[in-house]
Symmetry: C2
Subunit: 268 residues, 2 copies
């Protein structure tokens, strides 16, 4: 599922492509993904120009003239994809937005996902309450953030209200690089461990962004990223051997998620 790097890439591509375009029409095939009546989308979007796009954790925000915003969450395996004039969006599209120049973008979802319209001045609980962006954060702030919390480190990092954008794909490599067990208690982390964690988060997310994000997801132009399993030391390795130390790797349950760890590099 798309996480921070994918959304950073998609938002950047949108930002390069869409500002200035004027909405011509919106077609919705899956009304249950909306946060308000379908008519509102038809009423408020057409005629508005795109001002810009930016990532918000696992969401992307499209800003329009007048202050309205479209907030998109791709859920599991969703895709937002641009199409040129004359191109046809695929059959499976759950949402199609066209601009007056004939271009547009479609969204596909294979499970859940959201296309929320938020009007100027309105609140949006799901993105208003996101924790800070890990890449826009100094170590001191990260350290402070951890000091205010107890419990295991993994659920904390996955909680979008604590820190935005990390999901169960990248966290596996992050915790491996930091040398931390997912169930390590936050209050037990030493300053050095926090530093390693902070740096691992930056390194993993930035590496992926640099490579165009995950090879399992498609970007705004339908291209795969180049950050694949070959970048991951332990995640989804069926061979059961840590490429760093040669020890056994294991798949363990951590709350509702599963995770691969190296029993040697990531001890409790």
């Amino acid at each position: 599922m798309p996480e921070l790097p994918e959304l950073v890439v998609i938002a950047e591509q949108m930002q390069q492509t869409l500002p200035g375009k004027e909405v011509a029409s919106v077609t919705i095939f899956q009304p249950k993904c909306l946060n308000r009546p379908e008519e509102d989308y038809q009423r408020y979007l057409p005629g508005k120009r795109v001002l810009g796009a930016r990532p918000l954790g696992k969401w992307v925000e499209l800003g329009f003239q007048g202050g309205d915003r479209l907030l998109v969450n791709l859920g599991m395996g969703g895709e937002v994809c641009y199409f040129k004039k004359g191109e046809e969006p695929p059959e499976k599209s759950k949402w199609i937005l066209t601009f007056t120049d004939g271009t547009g973008f479609f969204i596909t979802l294979w499970w859940f996902g959201y296309m929320h319209l938020v009007r100027k001045g309105e609140t949006h609980p799901m993105t208003d309450t996101l924790g800070p962006d890990p890449l826009a954060m100094a170590f001191d702030a990260f350290n402070k953030l951890l000091e205010g919390h107890r419990g295991s480190i993994k659920p904390f990092l996955l909680n979008q209200k604590c820190i935005r954008g990390i999901g169960n794909f990248y966290i596996q490599e992050i915790l491996f690089q930091a040398g931390l067990h997912p169930l390590k208690e936050i209050p037990c982390l030493s300053k050095e461990e926090k530093k390693r964690l902070f740096q691992a988060i930056r390194r993993v997310l930035e590496d992926s962004i640099t490579l165009g994000s995950s090879s399992y997801e498609l970007d705004f132009f339908g291209a795969k990223g180049r950050y694949g399993l070959d970048r991951m030391a332990v995640a989804y390795r069926e061979d059961g051997v840590c490429p760093v130390c040669g020890s056994k790797t294991e798949k363990i349950k951590t709350g509702s998620t599963a995770q691969f760890i190296c029993i040697q590099c990531q001890q409790l």
Copy 2:
């Protein structure tokens, strides 16, 4: 407030004095301390003989013929005291129980406290859910107990559902002797720290029992114990100097309770 050592001493004195005596009457001056209608006490206790007494954390349990039990909690600064035939209980008594031989005991309270009557087969949530007795526990069990919990060590030790009988008086010396800061997180305790803590609990509580318990409380015969502030390294020391290392002592807030610590011997 009477804690485990006081209750151990009182229960032992009751056990030496009361078994075999038959209740003649019960007089209650503070019905809000009861768990059931006052009439029940009058109806069920007179005519019954005492079988025995035992401490339950900060409670003392008096068992009667037929399985009824009287559970007494002295709250803050309460007192249970025996009187001989012909002696008069003080004016301030909130509860008086006399035996057919003319002896009896009275209870005084100055804040909260309980005199609960529990009939055979009934449950009593406040004592049924007490944690284990720290003096009847092996280190392994104590270690296991800690493994199941998060949060600071002091609130844990004060929580009667985790471990019974420790209050804010003895814990100060316990944590000092263990060299632990009250806000130390349980998951961060090393095996050695847990061992020190376990031993400090035993040493402090047993020392006090040996000396007849706290010099601030009265036992079942109205006598003061000999465990006083002179036994405590840092608690309530206004001079601000640790007698062990000479460092500064401090009074800090730990949740709802205050605590004296030595800043050198008890670091986070």
